[in-house]
Subunit: 258 residues, 2 copies
DNA sequence: CCCGGGTGTTGATCCAGATCAAATGATTCC
DNA sequence: GGAATCATTTGATCTGGATCAACACCCGGG
């Protein structure tokens, strides 16, 4: 269990010197996406920004009263919970620009815990205020629906990538997913850090940590990637994408190139 | 592939003699949940109701323009798509009172297909109208958020029940899920029909159909259930629940009863 | 600089469940 | 009603990945 000593985010002092939404380079995937300048102005006073938290500190914990939706500003957040038999289950990893907390609306309290895997910072959007504002700004309402829809799609994808896929496919899917998501936020698609441990990747993918390690080594032998500790470099993205589908490199030519 | 000849739902004639939301016994889990009588009145004119469709007919298909969210009125709907390697992937089974289509908001077209597994009927809620109405009725907006939140939670649960669970646990989880959902709609929790094939259960759970069959047989031998073809009777619900967690029947006493 | 614990790698063995195979039981369609 | 097709069950075999085990590596602290 990776719960460190918790200086809860809620208790830390707001940091008012942090960039506004209008100047945030992540606003393209967060709530302001699709809003015009005026609407972003109306959203602004609602946002609460905090100083960064460190590895092991929690954003919220299972059972806390649900109040905020959080957008990751920097770092990585692991969202997890304990199963009935006290095993850690990982719901997801959230990267900069991604939004967490939507799964707790129904229950009224957080149904999972969120912990920083590295020094990370956030913006908090009080959900009840967000709801009110949604009724005034159609574009914002639509954006919230879109973000939640995306979350459903992502979870569905994840679920299906656990079905009928072997270890190599699962790991490839995981790497491609990270690559896409980093790229989408303006980071490198080819080179990034695996901020979570092998054990955590294993739990997330339904594999033993040894299998994760072996699979990464094997992919390195095959010149698809270079892995060194937490750093990953993807050398052959197309080949890695083919691994995901289970189609060999020879299947593409079946569709005539001309 | 189970796509039958398709008389698309959209093309079938509205059936205006079907019960209104206000008198629908499923309204407790659908959009009207939490709305007062006045608000349900406002929702009413927006709903489009159709004659039932038959097994194999589609509600919508991947790529169709996203227009409606559908509530299942009767029957079972399988939501699925084809993977890159043309294998069927099953996103979920939807029972009476359950709502489908939320995963297609973001894309603007349906990202999956929905097919009836038995004679089934629906109500359609045009999403753009629903969005508008949400801005007038706070309780409706909140309910839409709740329904989507539930969908995220459900998908998360499903994802996690694929991780680190063995075949017996997966099948138990699946049966309990159906049991709970039927009960929630006022049907029997103990006795119901498995409207999907063993193959479909297998795809959904990430198991070979033979494993599904064997596991059900094994559970019958253990007097947990009786399975006859599509009919299931659960004899020992608590024991089945214990199977889900992987905890033996002896673990509960570890927590002092007094 | 060395020590210690956490994290990652690699090797060896074993088993749950996939796959292959065949028989039987349903259901549909003339 | 009967043939044809499909769904399900059950058996036999094989294998990918879990598990057990040992070792290497890295990093922080004294």
């Amino acid at each position: 269990m990776s719960i460190g000593c918790a200086l809860e985010l809620q208790k830390s002092a707001p940091a008012r010197d942090i960039a506004l939404c209008s100047s945030c380079r992540l606003s393209g995937t967060c709530f302001p996406q699709g809003l015009d300048t005026d609407d972003v102005q109306k959203l602004e006073p609602l946002v609460r920004r905090f100083r960064p938290i460190h590895r092991g500190e929690h954003v919220f914990r299972t059972g806390d009263k649900f109040q905020n939706i959080y957008a990751v500003r920097s770092g990585t957040v692991k969202v997890y919970r304990l199963s009935a038999d006290f095993e850690e289950q990982i719901i997801g990893f959230y990267l900069p620009g991604e939004v967490l907390g939507f799964n707790s609306i129904e229950q009224g309290e957080y149904v999972c815990s969120a912990v920083a895997l590295e020094t990370s910072s956030f913006c908090a959007f009080p959900f009840s205020l967000l709801e009110e504002l949604c009724r005034c700004i159609p574009a914002l309402q639509h954006q919230v629906f879109r973000l939640m829809s995306k979350e459903i799609v992502f979870s569905n994808e994840m679920m299906m990538s656990h079905c009928g896929k072997d270890a190599r496919q699962k790991v490839a899917i995981f790497l491609i997913s990270l690559s896409n998501r980093y790229q989408h936020q303006g980071y490198s698609a080819r080179e990034f850090r695996l901020t979570m441990s092998r054990r955590e990747v294993g739990i997330y993918l339904g594999l033993a940590l040894e299998t994760v390690s072996r699979t990464l080594s094997r992919m390195q032998e095959d010149n698809l990637i270079t892995v060194d500790r937490k750093s990953v470099i993807i050398h052959d993205l197309p080949a890695l994408q083919q691994v995901c589908t289970g189609l060999g490199p020879d299947v593409i030519p079946l569709i005539p190139v001309n």
